[in-house]
Amino acid sequence: MSLYKEKRILLLAGVCLLAAVLLVTPGLRYGIDIAGGSRIVLELETSQATIQLATQIVGDNLEPAEEIIGLIQDNMLTSVKLVALDRTANTATFEIGRSVSSDILASIIDNKGQVISIEEGKISDQTREEVTNLLQTRVDPAGLLGVQSRPMGANLVLFEVPAMDPERAKALLGQTGRLEAFIENTLVMTADDIETVGSIRIQETSGVYKYEVPLRISQDGANEFATASQGKGNYPFVIYLDRPDDAILLFNNQLLTNMPASLTYDNTARTFRISPETQGTSETHSYDLLVSFIPISKDNLDNATLQTIQEMHATKSRAIFLGSVTDFSENVTGSAKAIFTENKVEYFPKTSETETTTSWIQRACGLQSAPAISTDIAGQAKRDVEISGSRGTYESAESEASNLKIVLQQRLPVKVSFVGESSIPPRLGSEFAFDILKAAIAAVIAVGVLVYLRYRRPLIVGAIMLTMGSEVLVTIGIASGLRQTIGLAEIAAVLAVIGTGVEQQLIITDEVLRRGLPKAGPRSVSLSGRIGKAFAVIFAAAATTIAALATLFFVGYGAMKGFAIVMIIGILAAIIVTRPAYGRILNAIVSRETTKAEKTQVKAAQQ
């Protein structure tokens, strides 16, 4: 039978072709060493407060502490954990998922206890790991990207995300996921009420792409909505994500001279009011943005404004300038830094020159959408809520909606904020790629020479090289199809695949060329029988190695997962496709030689 019609050979050819296609069409994703990526430093804004409890804790009854946890959670909308308890002094230390001043905390816990001390920026290892894992899931849900993180200082975490631009990495990592929804300034729903986040929908109407992120709300949340929306038909249902309620937003007062009709600034409430456009006959209700805005002159802060800011500093810990650094004089930013300290002053520029003032201000507040409650659902227990918005292009609508979905699915127990972001160029440049190529060629030649020295048959050397090459192609192709990034660890895995591959081909070759076992008696084993015996060894070895690698994948560290995946692919490809094909090729080579030898023998006998 011709070798070309053999099933195993056809399978090999087919798989190689598929791998080549997979390699070209989605293209290889390289790891951070080869392709560069983003570096993001995040601050986890926790604080640990030690409180003298008013009620003595007796035995296992932690009720006095739990009461305080409940109070802080309800008032600050953040997670609170009990991290230490001193029974003799009757003090408890709580970890609060955002920064808090002792005045505010004292007013929240009221007569339940007395605040002894607050340590800002202190975080327990357990919480830090929890947050880091959630953030990793956001940027790398399948664990194929090879994201690395590293704790830095007391409460900073450094993330390295390969092949992702800083903007997208920032959008995914920098949001806490604190969802709030208000009707008439009353909080009716929080992120805790979300049961599931549905699939995003995008619709185009006359060049504008509208996206929707559907949320399924728990029954309790729906009941709360029903009570709050009673008789509030046509009122807006205002949804915020990560509302900067701990910040003062400072904007250039020139903005007030040129305001759209739907936007008004309220001097006493110190915020903007948005009046939705009237649609048809239904009445509309305006709503206040629940964030503090203060108009300032871009050149200097007058005393009255300065005093207001200083007074507000008691409850607000950050200042955000609407605009970039250069939009305000150093004098102004300097005074803000003097009040809030350098790292608590941030900037919020427009996305582009064409962005409208309304959208800019809404974005600064974290306002997601404010649909009017239709009269027929007001007062009903509604369990499906949508967050919607619109963008100019399909891509931006899609990325906005999917980012929102990811952030809402992986909500963080603590508030995060940016410290720095930068892109990093590839560490191992073209030079390294050249080195690897050199090494690969050298290795191939070395293996070729050794194999030739052992068997003295060029055809066998060729067959081993061919199988080796197709194995590398198949492994990298399938890894690329799975969207696995190829970094240093993965290159090591490819080397391992080549190594074990050559090893196993040598086992098969030895087995086949040995022609029976020493003193095996008169029964000499057939050629296919010998190949079968060799396969017994190979299957056992492959199964054992895969078992070891699979455990590594499930509990392994980021970079090791990539290693495990690539090597498992390589071993599977080897035992299913390339090894059987090699066996067949070798069989063909050996039987041809045998027939030739027999012919010469016959000839010799005839002569």
Partner: protein, 294 residues
């Protein structure tokens, strides 16, 4: 030279003793010299420069600072996406006091003309304790998984001897790292995994030949298997050495060092230790059969 000499002339006890003595030597080297941990596994300091006009040469900074600080240094150049200015992120395994900080700043100013003041942050291992615990579990679980599979395939408990043999290769590799004072890094960790894969192959090759094949004396079967085994391990070793000579990358060197020592150990741990144990098992079984048939 006959490389299969020991299979014919040594008693199983002697075969077992040789690799154990050698492993003890490597264990001693490891315990005495110790293996330095790479930046991924140790705490240290992160030094960040921002707003630089030009992109500094990361490799030059790395070598200059590692000499000054006498510690492992890893440098990455960064670029600010809004201003387009450059930065440097320097990680070192050393905790810097005021003196060390000044040294860094002076080196950067003198050798690279970077005058600005950097930020210093203490950093903790990138591979946290939880991950290390995870990795330990991974190794334990994978050994259990290997034991289950080889027991199913060969149906004899004696094949479990294979596992300490694989584990002893790790002792050789650790000893090798300690001998050359190479770092234990993510790259050398990959080397360990690779080596486990290779040595499972040789051990299974041996076991298959001794326990499942028929014909010939066990010692003869072991000798034939061993020729194949030496060939495959030799091929891997030659390849690794080629790669190491050609590629001057520290990660590759660490990986290759682990593999080279691990595979060298494998030559002894498979063909003397595991082989010795299996021969002892086979010969004892044969004696028993002999007495029973008597």
């Amino acid at each position: 030279m006959d490389i299969t000499w020991h299979t014919k002339h040594l008693k199983p006890r002697q075969m077992i003793a040789i690799p154990l003595v050698l492993a003890a030597v490597f264990a001693a080297i490891f315990l005495i010299r110790g293996v330095p941990m790479s930046i991924e596994f140790s705490s240290g300091t992160m030094i960040t420069y921002r707003n630089l006009e030009n992109s500094p040469n990361a490799d030059a900074v790395e070598s200059a600072l590692s000499t000054v600080l006498a510690a492992d240094v890893k440098t990455v150049t960064t670029q600010d996406s809004t201003t387009g200015t450059f930065g440097l992120d320097i990680q070192t395994t050393k905790a810097l006091d005021d003196n060390g900080r000044e040294q860094v700043q002076r080196t950067m100013a003198d050798q690279f003309g970077i005058q600005s003041t950097p930020e210093f942050y203490p950093i903790e291992p990138a591979v946290s304790q939880t991950y290390l615990r995870g990795a330990m579990w991974a190794i334990i679980l994978s050994f259990i998984a290997m034991f289950v599979i080889v027991s199913i395939v060969f149906r004899r408990k004696i094949v479990g001897v294979m596992l300490p043999c694989v584990a002893l290769n790790m002792v050789w590799a650790l000893g090798g790292l300690a001998l050359f004072q190479m770092q234990f890094s993510l790259a050398s960790l990959s080397g360990f995994l690779l080596m486990i894969g290779f040595s499972i192959d040789t051990n299974i090759l041996l076991t298959e030949h001794l326990l499942r094949r028929v014909g010939g004396e066990p010692r003869e079967r072991m000798a034939t298997a061993m020729l194949t085994g030496y060939m495959i391990t030799g091929t891997s070793l030659v390849t690794m050495i080629c790669i190491n000579i050609l590629v001057t990358n520290p990660s590759i060197t660490q990986l290759v060092t682990v593999l080279t020592f691990g595979l060298a150990g494998d030559l002894f741990n498979t063909w003397f230790l595991n082989g010795g144990a299996l021969i002892w098992y086979m010969e004892r079984k044969k004696r028993k059969e002999y007495y029973v048939s008597l």
